[in-house]
């Protein structure tokens, strides 16, 4: 009897009970039950994927030179910075926090790595110091947020100013030239036709995808983002979790910054202004909830690609700068509206 009850209620949940409206829907979703987990997730996020596929097809069709090997390589390269950082930003957002300091960390790590490399003559030491410095900034953000309970928007806004200032002071305000030729190899080393920055981005997609979905750590992050009190009471060390995630964010932003510096050949304290908003946009486009607890790496990859494709196509189509603002704003708005519509239809 009790069994009867639960199956009933399960049915209700699925068919959004009663009325004649959407029986087709219900049976689809029921059929989905049978599918393997991965495929089901795909179908769930399929709205976004469909949008991307359509967009990509349209661009390939209507934008000359879009679907050429060299353009796609260029496109991939152009999203490395956003893409790499978006993976850890996803973790931060999943935790229900936000990090505005990434752009400053990118600049700071780049400047530090460039200076240390030039002064010690060792690329390894330079990179190491740069990454450690970036990680330290991240850890500090995490500490302020987790230990003192400061709202992360404000904590990292402060860090954004502070670290940008440090980047200027370290470099004296001028871009730092790199004298060590080995440093340039970081950004240009190439394997299977793709350069290191692209590989690093792909690696972060894999690593943080696995971290989020396949490890206890990742699940704890999602649980904490969904209900911090709940995970604390369940014995999750929320404080440590937050510090680790922010530190990872710092480290990854630092690596991205160093690769950027290597590609550019100089450590520029002015670089990447506004990057944080682009990264957050990409994540949100990818369905990551700003209120925490919901994130998927597939979504983030798609979000990054959508942004990259649109920007790339606008360049190819020679869209005047001013209209690019309209297009970027419009795309972002349409994407979230679509997402809302999809969710309300469910």
């Amino acid at each position: 009897m009790s069994a009867q009850k639960s199956t009933d209620s399960a049915l209700l949940t699925d068919t959004s009970c009663g009325s004649t409206s959407n029986d087709g829907e219900a049976s689809t979703s029921e059929r989905r039950r049978g599918l393997p987990k991965a495929l089901r997730t795909l179908l769930d996020t399929s709205g976004l994927i469909a949008v991307f596929v359509l967009l990509f097809a349209a661009l390939s069709l209507f934008v000359p030179d879009f679907l050429t090997g060299r353009n796609i390589v260029g496109l991939l390269l152009s999203v490395t910075l956003i893409g790499t950082i978006a993976t850890t930003m996803m973790m931060v957002l999943a935790l229900g926090e936000v990090d505005l300091s990434v752009a400053s960390i990118v600049a700071f790590a780049g400047v530090v790595a460039a200076m240390v490399t030039s002064s010690t003559g060792s690329v390894a030491i330079g990179v190491l110091v740069g990454v450690v410095a970036a990680g330290a900034v991240g850890a500090f953000n995490g500490l302020v947020v987790a230990r003192f309970g400061v709202n992360s928007l404000i904590a990292t806004l402060a860090a954004m100013e502070f670290i940008r200032g440090l980047a200027y002071i370290t470099s004296g305000g001028d871009a730092v030239m790199i004298t060590e030729p080995g440093f340039f190899d970081l950004g240009s080393a190439s394997f299977l036709g793709l350069t290191l920055p692209v590989w690093v981005m792909l690696a972060s997609f894999v690593i943080f995808g696995v971290l989020l979905n396949q490890t206890a750590f990742g699940r704890n992050v999602l649980a904490t983002g969904g209900n911090a009190e709940a995970s604390r009471l369940a014995g999750v060390n929320v404080r440590r979790l937050k510090i680790i995630v922010f530190t990872l964010q710092g480290v990854v932003a630092g690596i991205a910054g160093i690769l950027l510096t290597s590609r550019m050949g100089l450590g520029d304290p002015n670089t990447s202004m506004g990057l944080e908003l682009a990264v957050i946009s990409a994540c949100v486009l990818g369905g990551v909830s700003l209120s925490g607890g919901v994130a998927s790496i597939t979504g983030v990859v798609i979000g990054v690609l959508i942004m990259g494709c649109v920007q790339n196509a606008m360049g190819l189509l020679n869209v005047p700068t001013f209209y690019q603002y309209l297009v970027r704003g419009g795309i972002l708005l349409l994407a979230v509206l679509f997402d809302r519509w999809k969710q309300s239809r469910r």
Binding site: M1, S2, A3, Q4, K5, S6, T7, D8, S9, A10, L12, T13, S16, C17, G18, S19, K37, Q214, T215, A216, F217, R219, N220, L222, A223, T224, G226, N227, E229, A230, S231, R232, L233, A234, G235, V236, N237, G293, V294
Partner: protein, 497 residues
């Protein structure tokens, strides 16, 4: 007594303006279900939070197995084998059932989750909970509150804790789930654990518990080490400091013409058209198992959801409410069941919570509010409903659950409401306050108002209502008059055929 497994010694906990626990001492033994009882705000939940390391006592300590402990975080308590099932749900909404069950101890190899072990253990525990049909991969947010509560319990079972405390576990469970819970509690006792059990339901205490400790206003009143010779009246008077003969105190009232007339209403959650009416002076009950669609039905009536078909007549006039606001101004309001997510404004003061709707009557110059009227209104109700709060300015989130409920009720008492819809109005409310609330309902109906009560408490609904509608699976199966409404009959109607 001194060799008791758990000893609480001189625990004092203070909050700004309140002393939640004042030098509390008692002990509980293994193989015993120890009830903790007291009015709303007596400090029961606070005591459990001391046990779990959430609240740190300003003095005193816990002795567990003759070792002294003062926990400063939840992990320490878990490590000492203390697990608590909280009054407020503590689940991560977007994780699966399995993951929530094992949150904090997810099975993993080198950090990687062992999905098979996760699945297996989840299935096993769901079986123990009698929820073997629940899919461990379901997201918790898709479950009903009762099911979520079962997950909480499952989590504590999985911890294999020596001391397990339940904070009002039955308040949102269905009847089958409660039966199951009782079985689980008995099993835990028989396995030689210490079970602490907080509840406001007398019958549960007498049925399940072996000892009882009573609190009042943060003070330890007494501990009965055995239930022998203890009767309900004594216990009640220890709890509330006065005697209450009949909690329900039903009064016969004259009934007037039909005030609320619902005709063939259907919509989300209500699959077959529902018709019923409520007279002036009537208390109309809606009974059903959790998930029967009672809340959904009344949400349709009160404009919170949009009906697909059907009409609502209020005092003979057809109404199409587009929002709860319209319904309130027309004279029908609902106290929602899920206080935390639908009722309170957690950071706002008691007064603000209370005056949110009615302040439109206290205006100055047509647009400014009248703070002094608001304050006096708040203070009136704090007194009238004996709401335990240090001040009308205290944030409502620091009140005990029962007192929060009273504030929400007061919110509608100060409106010009004709039809009160109360969804589980006494969920988590102590005997004394319950009595107050029932009296209030009778008073309202005596003044020609109508009340619709949704309740899962059989005893309550069959004792206070004039007529009772029974729902099952989104349908109204029958309407029963008071004199025919035996618990057996109601249950028979509510259970799936």
């Amino acid at each position: 007594m001194d060799n008791a497994y758990l000893r609480v010694e001189g625990i004092t906990v203070e909050f700004p303006g309140v002393c939640a626990l004042d030098n509390i001492s008692f002990s509980a033994n293994t193989g015993e279900v120890h009830a903790l009882m007291g009015e709303n705000g007596a400090g029961k939940s606070t005591l459990l939070k001391v046990l779990s390391g959430v609240n740190r006592p300003s003095s005193g300590a816990l002795w567990i197995n003759d070792e002294r402990h003062v926990f400063t975080n939840a992990r320490q308590a878990l490590a000492q084998g203390v697990a608590i099932i909280y009054q407020e749900l503590t689940l991560a909404p977007n994780l699966s059932v399995a993951e929530n069950l094992m949150l904090g101890q997810l099975p993993a190899h080198a950090g990687f989750i062992d999905r098979r072990a996760l699945q297996l253990r989840a299935m096993q525990i769901l079986k123990e909970l009698g929820e073997e049909n629940m899919n461990p991969a379901t997201k918790v947010r898709e479950l009903s509150i009762g099911q979520q509560q079962m997950i909480e319990i499952g989590r504590a079972l999985l911890r294999n804790a020596r001391i397990i405390a339940f904070d009002e576990p039955t308040s949102s469970l269905s009847i089958q789930e409660i039966r199951h819970l009782k079985r689980i509690v008995k099993r835990l006792r028989d396995e030689g654990r210490v079970v602490l059990y907080v509840t406001h339901r007398m019958e549960e205490v007498f049925e399940m518990c072996d000892a009882v400790t009573v609190f009042r206003d943060g003070q330890h009143i007494c501990t009965h080490t055995t239930m022998e010779g203890l009767d309900q009246d004594t216990l009640v008077s220890e709890m509330v400091g006065r005697r209450i003969e009949d909690v329900y105190g039903y009064r016969l009232r004259p009934q007037g013409e039909v005030l609320l007339d619902v005709d063939a209403l259907a919509g989300p959650g209500v699959r077959a058209p529902v018709s019923f009416n409520v007279r002036r002076g009537e208390v109309f009950g809606l009974f059903g198992l959790v998930g029967a669609g009672r809340s959904e039905l009344m949400r349709l009536v009160c404009g919170a959801d949009k009906p697909a078909t059907g009409t609502v007549r209020l005092d003979g006039k057809v109404q199409h409410f587009a929002s709860p606001g319209e319904a309130i101004r027309a004279g029908i309001a609902m106290c929602p069941e899920d206080r935390k997510s639908q009722g309170i404004f957690p950071v706002a003061s008691v007064a603000d919570n209370l005056n949110i709707s009615c302040r439109r009557f206290f205006k100055r110059f047509g647009f400014l509010r009248n703070p002094s009227r608001e304050v006096s209104n708040a203070n009136d109700y704090i007194k009238q409903l004996s709401i335990k709060t240090p001040h009308h300015r205290t944030p409502i989130s620091s009140l005990s659950g029962g007192n929060q409920q009273k504030v929400i009720i007061a919110r509608w008492l100060s409106e010009e409401i004709e039809v009160f819809v109360m969804d589980e109005p006494t969920r988590g409310i102590d005997v004394g306050a319950r009595r107050d609330i029932y009296t209030l309902l009778y008073d309202l109906t005596e003044h020609g108002k109508s009340v619709v009560v949704i309740s899962s408490d059989l005893a309550e609904i069959s004792s206070i209502c004039d007529r009772i509608g029974v729902m099952r699976d989104g349908q109204l199966v029958d309407i029963v008059n008071r004199d025919e409404a035996t618990p057996e009959r109601l249950l028979g109607l509510a259970l799936p055929a």
